[in-house]
Subunit: 324 residues, 6 copies
C-alpha cells in the first residue's frame, strides 16, 4: 500500500534515511532478509544471556540496539566509508535459542545458525547477548581455519570451569583456542582491568601467546599507538573484532553485566576500531549490552554506534577482498 505513496523527497523511498523515529527498528533500518543468498554482511542479534556470572539482561540487547541503531546513518563521516554502498547488508534476524535452560546445547543452537550463514558465504556482524555467544559464532565461521582477533574488553574471558560449566561468558576464548577456532598468537586483548579473585585467572591468555593490553597501558600509550601494535600482531590473516561494552568505562556504558570502573571512552574506542581498516576482517560483534541496567538507553546507543563502526571496517575489508 505505502509504496503508492508519492514522496516529497525521493530519497525517502529508502527507509534508512527517513526520520529516525519512524518505521520498524531493524538494525540501522537495513532491509530484513531471511534469505541470505544475496547478502554479503548479515547483521544478526543473539538474544541470549544464559552464560552470565553476575547480572543478566543481555538477552534484551539486540532489541534495544536495533531500536537505537535508527540513530545511525549511511556514511561514516570520519572515514568516508559507506558500508551500504560497498556491500549488500541486511538484518538477518536473531540467532535465538529454543532451549535456553542448558548452556552447552544453547550455544550449539547458536552455532547452527552461524554455520548456515557461513555456508551462504555471508559475513556476520552480530549484537549479543553475553560474551559466551562468540564461541558459537566462531564455530560457525572459523571451522576451517582459526581466526585472529582484536578484542576490546575489561576481561580476557579466557577463564575455566566456574559455576558448573566452562562455557560461561568469562571463558569463550580459552574454549575457542582449544577447539582450534582462534589463533592466540594473533589475538590482542585491550582494556583489561578490575580486581580478580584468582591471580592466575587470565594465565591462559599469557601462556597461549595472546597480547594483553591492560587499561593502564592503554591510558599511557593512547589508542593509536596500541592499535598500531595490534595490527602487527594480527597481520594479514583473517581477523575478527569482538567488542564487549564493559571495556568502556561505565559512565559511557552502564548497562552491562559485569561493569568495571576505570575504562576507556567511546571516542577512544572509535579511533581504535577505525584504525583497524585495511585488515583482513571476517566479522565482528558487540556484546554485553544489558538494557535493564541503563534506563536511559544510552548503552544501547553506544552499542549501535560501535556496531556501525565495526560494520564499516568489515565492509571496507570485504569489498577490498572482493574487488581484488
Amino acid at each position: 500500500m505505502t509504496e503508492e505513496r508519492t514522496h516529497r523527497y525521493p530519497e525517502f523511498a529508502d527507509p534508512m534515511v527517513r526520520p529516525r523515529y519512524v518505521g520498524l527498528p531493524t538494525f540501522m533500518r537495513a532491509p530484513y532478509e531471511e534469505d541470505l543468498s544475496a547478502v554479503d554482511i548479515a547483521l544478526v542479534g543473539i538474544p541470549f544471556d544464559g552464560g552470565v556470572t553476575n547480572r543478566p539482561g543481555a538477552r534484551h540487547g539486540p532489541r534495544e540496539i536495533r531500536n537505537q541503531s535508527s540513530l545511525m546513518r549511511r556514511i561514516n563521516q570520519a572515514t568516508g566509508i559507506d558500508p551500504f554502498a560497498l556491500c549488500r547488508i541486511a538484518d538477518a534476524g536473531d540467532a535465538w535459542v529454543e532451549s535456553p535452560y542448558e548452556l552447552e546445547s544453547a550455544l550449539e543452537e547458536i552455532a547452527a545458525f552461524y554455520r548456515r550463514l557461513h555456508a551462504a558465504g555471508t559475513a556476520p556482524v552480530s549484537a549479543g547477548g553475553d560474551h559466551s555467544v562468540t564461541l558459537p559464532v566462531f564455530r560457525g565461521i572459523a571451522a576451517e581455519r582459526p581466526v585472529g582477533m582484536v578484542h576490546f574488553d575489561a576481561h580476557c574471558d579466557t577463564g575455566d570451569d566456574y559455576l558448573g560449566s566452562k562455557f560461561h561468558h568469562g571463558a569463550p576464548f580459552r574454549r575457542a583456542v582449544e577447539e582450534g577456532l582462534l589463533d592466540p598468537r594473533r589475538t590482542v586483548q585491550i582494556g583489561i582491568r578490575g580486581p580478580i579473585n584468582d591471580p592466575d585467572i587470565w594465565s591462559f591468555s599469557h601462556e597461549s601467546g595472546m597480547r594483553v593490553v591492560y587499561m593502564e597501558e592503554l591510558y599511557e600509550r593512547g589508542p593509536k599507538d596500541v592499535i598500531e601494535e595490534a595490527r602487527g600482531i594480527v597481520g594479514d590473516g583473517p581477523t575478527y573484532i569482538s567488542f564487549d561494552v564493559d571495556g568502556l568505562d561505565p559512565a559511557f556504558a552502564p548497562g552491562t553485566g559485569t561493569p568495571e570502573c576505570g575504562g576507556f571512552s567511546v571516542i577512544e574506542a572509535q579511533i581504535m576500531i577505525r584504525a583497524l581498516r585495511g585488515l583482513n576482517l571476517v566479522g565482528g560483534d558487540v556484546v554485553e549490552v544489558a538494557p535493564p541496567f541503563d534506563p536511559s538507553g544510552n548503552t544501547a546507543m553506544v552499542g549501535a554506534t560501535i556496531l556501525y563502526e565495526i560494520l564499516c571496517v568489515v565492509a571496507d575489508s570485504l569489498a577490498g577482498r572482493k574487488g581484488g
Copy 2:
C-alpha cells in the same frame, strides 16, 4: 535461511509465540505487510506529536508500543477472543509525516494514509502520536458517514483556536463534528477531569450533545455501569474507540504529554473496553504515549495492553459482521 531451521516446538514457526525478547518488534509480532489487499485489520503507528500544547514525545510512541507489545499473546483470557483467528491482522507500518513543521498539512498526510487503507477495505487500530491524529484517521475512514465514539480521556478535546491553530491535540473532536465525521449524539467521553482555564472550554461537547462522564461520576458508578449507558448512546451504528492514556491515572501511565492526576486504573479500563464487545466497531486508537517521560517503559506496556484490548473487540465485531 532461517526457515530451514527445524523447531523443537512446531509452534515456534510462528513468530508471535516465540520467546518475547526475540525477533523484530512489529505490533504484537504480527506480520509486517504493506500490501493491505488481504488484511482485515491493520495495526498502524502514527509517529507524530506536532499538535501537542505542552510536552512533546508521542512521536516515539509507536516504536515503544511495538517494543512492549511483544508481551502480548494471541488469546484474550478474559473474553476468549482470539483476534488473530477471527481476522487477518498485520502491522501496516507507520503513517508518518514528511513535512511535520506545518500542522495542517501534516494531518493531511496522515489522512491520505488512512484513505488508502480505508479504500482497501481494511479497518485500522492505531497507536499515536498525539491526539490530533484522530482527526485525519476520521477523514480516512468516516468520509461517507459520521461515526460514533467511545472516548477515554482526561480531556474532552473539543476545544478551539489555541496557539495559532484549531488543529492542536485539544480540539480534534470539535473539528471532526464540524467536518461531519463524528456524530456528537453518539459520542461518550469518559474520565474527564483536571483544572481548566476557560470555564467554557468543553462547552462544545455539552452543546453538541456528547455525553461527558467526569471522573468523579466514573468513580462513583464504576466502570460497568458507565459502559452500560455508553452502549445505549452509541447504539448499533458504526463506532470508534479512542483511548488517550492520560485518562488513566499517571501512576499507571506517567509517560504522556498532558498528565492529569486522579484518573482511572488499567483494570477499570480493561473492564470498560471489554464491555464494548458486540458494538459495531470500525476501528480504534491509543494515543499520547510519550515514552521520554517514562524511562521504565511501563506506559508503553500499558499502551500495548490497551491496543490489544481494542483489537480484540474490533476483531470480534468485524468477524461478526462478516459472519453475518
Copy 3:
C-alpha cells in the same frame, strides 16, 4: 520590555494561562509577591528537611512542586471553584532557614515567617519540607486559639522524643497540642498504617481525643463516608488541612521520606479534600515530597495537584467568610 509585546491571544497577558513550559515556575505561575498587604492567600515553600528520621530530600520539594504546578490551571473543573477569582493569591517565596543544623532554632525561624504572614492577615497554603514544619506554621497562625485539623497521612505524627529530639517529623502534632495550637478533639487523622516498633507510638492521638481512621477503615467505608464523619468532628471552628504525601500509596507518590505501602489513591484524596468545602478553613499544607526519590517528577506533580485542591477549598472558605 516584554510588556510591549502584542499578544495574538489577549489572555496571554496573564502568565498563568500561557503554555505550561514557558516562564518562571512560581506556584501555579501566580505572581511573586513579597509584600503581603494585598494578598489573601500566600503560597509558601518551606525547603527544610532537618526533621526527618529516615530519607531526607524534602528540602527540594518546594522547587519541584513549583515546577510541576505549571500543569495546574485556574478553575477546578470538579467543583467550579476559581480560587484566583475569589481571593488575591500570590507566591510569597520560601520560609527558608539560615541555621538549619539545629532543629529547634530552625523551626523557630520558620515560625517567625508565619507570624509575619499571619500578622499581615494572610492565610497560608504551604509546600514542605518534612512534616516537622507544620508545628512552626501553627505557631504562626494558631497562637490566639487552637485550630482543628483534617490530617491525611500514613502516620499520626504524635510521637515523642526520638533521635535526640521531640521536634522531629514524627511528632509535630503532639507538640502542637501541648503548645495549645491544635485541638485534638477537633482533629481527624486519615490513612494511618504501616508496621510500628512501639505499640503505644500513637497513644497520644487516642488519649488526647483525636479520631484516627486507619487505612483499612478508609478502604472499607470509602472516602465520602469518612469525610462526612470528619466534617462533624471538626465542626465549624477554624480548621487546617495537612496532607503528607506518604498517605498516598507509593505507586502514586514514591518520592517521599517514609513511604508505607498500601495507601489511598489520588482520586480518593481529591474526593476527600473537595468534600471539605464549606468548612471554616484557615490554611493547609502538602508535605514530604522528596523529589530525589522520584526521578520521574510524578510525586511533585501529585504534590502540586493536592496543593491546588487545598487552595480551592481554602479560597472558597475564605471568600465565604469575607462575603459574609
Copy 4:
C-alpha cells in the same frame, strides 16, 4: 567493640529499631543466623532466576528486598501481630546455587537447602528468585504430605514443557502436584489474567481441582469475599502462601519478569494476606521481584512489605500451634 557503646535510647541495643538507613540489611534487620537449631522461622533469600521465560533479574531480588526491608518495623499495626515476640526469627542467608547453568540440578541445590532447614524444624518465609524456586521449597518442606496453597499471581504457573524444560517458572505447581507435594483441591489461585497463546495453558489447574479466581472476579467481589472462600477451600490442613509480585498491577510492582497490566493493588494484597490469619500456615514466599526493571526500588519495597505480612500470619499460626 560497638557493644561497649552506651546508648542514649536503650532500645537502640536492638538493631531492628535503629534508624533505618544504618547497619547491615539482613531481612528486616533480624539477626543473621546460620545455625537454625534455635530458629522457628527462617527468612531465606533464593537468588536464582534461571527459570524465567522472558525478563531475568530476579536473582537480584533477595539483595534488594533485604535492603528495603529495613523500612519494616516489629509490630503489624493493622493486626497487632508482633512476629518477633511470637517466634524466634532469623535471616538464614541465601539458598544460592553453585551450578546455575542447568535448571534441574539448580533446583535440586535449592531443595537440599530446604531439606536441611525443614529437618531443623524451621519454617521458611522466602524471597525469590523466579517462581521456579517454589517447587524445590516444596520438595524441602512437603515431602511427608502435600500442602495446600493460597497463590497470588497473574499466572497459574501450571504449564508444561516449554523452551526445553518443564521446570521453568510457568510450571512449578503442575510439577508440585505430580510430585505429590501440593494438593490441588486445597489450592486457590488469585489474580490470574493476561493474554495467552494456548487456550489450554492453565487446563491443569482446572482439571486438577484448583480454584482459579481471575482478576475480573476479584475486582467484582473484592478481596475479603474472595479470601473468605479461599479459607474454606484450604481448610485447616497445612497451607503455604506463594505471592508472585506480578499479581499486583505493574503500577505497584513494575520490577518483575512477566508483568501483566490490570492487577490488584497493595492494599488489596495486604487485606487478603491478613485475612489468612488463623489458617494452619507452614511457610510462604514472595517471588519475581526483578530490581533491574525498577530503578526506583519501589518493587523491592513492596516485596519487603508483602514478605512482612506473610511473616506475620505464619508466625501467628506457628505460635498458635505451639501454644496449643
Copy 5:
C-alpha cells in the same frame, strides 16, 4: 514582607548566595527583570523545539537549566571573572512563541524578542530550545553587520531543505550566512562527527569558508591548540558563541535531541570557552538541552555550567569594551 527579615549572615540579603535549594529558580538566581533599560546582559530562555528532526523536548530546556543553575555561584574560580560585578545581569524571561505550529512564523516571534532586546542595548546569553533558535537570535542582534562565531557541536547545522523546511535545527547557519547575519570566514565549528546520509551535507560549511574541526582533530590536538587557531580565525570582530550540548559526549549530556557518541568532555569544553576570553564577544547560547531524555537532571546542570562559562567571557568582553 520578607525584606523585614533580619539575616544572620548579611550576605544572605542577596538571593544569589542563599542555600541553593531555596528560592525561585531564575537563571543563576539573578534578578528577574522585564525592563531592560538598566541591563547589560540578559539571560533569556527560548522554550521552543519546533525545529527538531528527531527527538523533541528542548522546549523544556530553559525551565530545567534555570532549576540547575542555582548550583552556580558568582565568581569563576578558574579565571577570576565575576560577571555580576562587571555587568548588570538579569533574567529577562522567555522568548516564548504564541504560534508554535508553524516553524517560520515561530522563529520570527523569537526574532522580534531579540530585536527589542538589541534595541535596548542589551547583549543576550540564551538557553534554548533547539538549534533553530540561533537564527532568530542573529536576526535580532546581527542585522547591522554579520558576526563571527565559535560553534561547538556534533553537527555543522549548515544543511538545507529537509522535512518540508529549510529552517529546521540542522540548517540555521546556512540561513544565517544567506541572510548576511553570519560571516562564514569568521566561523569555526568544533566537535563535528557522526554518520551522515548525504556526503555533501556539510558542503556549505566548507564552500563558504567556515573552519570545520572534526572530533578526531580535536582529540589529537587538544582543546587549547584548537582554540588558539579559532581565535585567529574570528579575530577581533564581533563574535558569538553557540554551544550545542550534543557536541559533548552523551555520557556527559544524554538529554539532547540528536545525540552522537564519541564527543568531548565538559572539562575540555570549559577550557575551550575560557580560552575565548579577550575576544570581542557579543552574546552566546546553549542549546539542545532536552530534559526528558535525562531524568537525572545532569544535562541541565551541564547546560547551566556552560551557560555560566559563556556569561563570564561575554561579561568580561563587554566590560572591557565599555571600560575602553
Copy 6:
C-alpha cells in the same frame, strides 16, 4: 546449618568469592566483626549527612556502597596487591549517630567510635556520609600527632562559619588544622574547581600552606605528574587519603551532594591512588556518595571501587610497616 553444605568448588567456602549477587552485602563481603581485637583494617560506614549545605542523601551511602562492593574481588590486578592476604580486614559496621539533629554532638558521636577503633590498634577505611565526617575520624586517629593528607575533591573544604555552624561539610579541614589534627604543609588538595561566591573562600588552604592543585592544572599535567609532586609533599609521615566523589566529573559520579561539572575520570583517580603506594598510610575514606541522586547505582559502584583502591594501598603500607 549451611556450613554442612558440600561445595562443588572448595573456594566457595569463602563468601568473598561466591557469585556476586548472593549473600549479605558487607563491605566487599568481608566478615562482619564488632570485636576489633584481631582486625588490622576496619571498613566502616558513616551514615550521616547532617553537615551538607545543599543536597542531602549521603546517609544512604554506606548501605549502597556495601551493596555495590560485592562487585569487588580480592586482588588488585593493576598492582598485584591482595589486601586480604596482607592484613586482617573486617566490616566493622556503622559509626552511626543517635542524635543527628545537632551537628556538633553528632560529630562527637562519630569521633567516639573512631577513638575506640584507634585504641584497638585498627586502621580505618571508611565510607561516608558527607565530608563533615572526616573531622571526627581525625579526632579518633590523629589525636596524638597531626597527619598529612592527599585529598581528592572539587572543593578545598577549608571554609568557615556558614548556615549557623563551622562544622558543615565545607569546612572540616580548617577545623582539623585548628584542632592540631592535620598538618597543612603535608596536605595536597587535587581537583579543586567550580564557581565560588567568596573570592577568599579557600584562603585558609593557601595561607596555611596546603598545596592546591586546581582541575585545570591536573588536566594539563596529568595524574602521574601531580601525584609525584604530592608524594614529595606528604613525605614519609603518617598520611590519610580522603576522596570526595565530587572530585570526579558528574558523568562518572552523579549521585553526590554538591556536584561540579568538569572533573577528572575514574581511571585517572585510580592511577593517582595507586601511585600513593609506599607512603606511610594510616587510613582513608570515600565520602559524599548520595545514592538518591543516581538511581542507576553507578556512583555507589564508583565509591566501592575507590574504597577498594584506598584499601589496597593502606593495607600494603600497613603490612610494610608491620613487616619492617
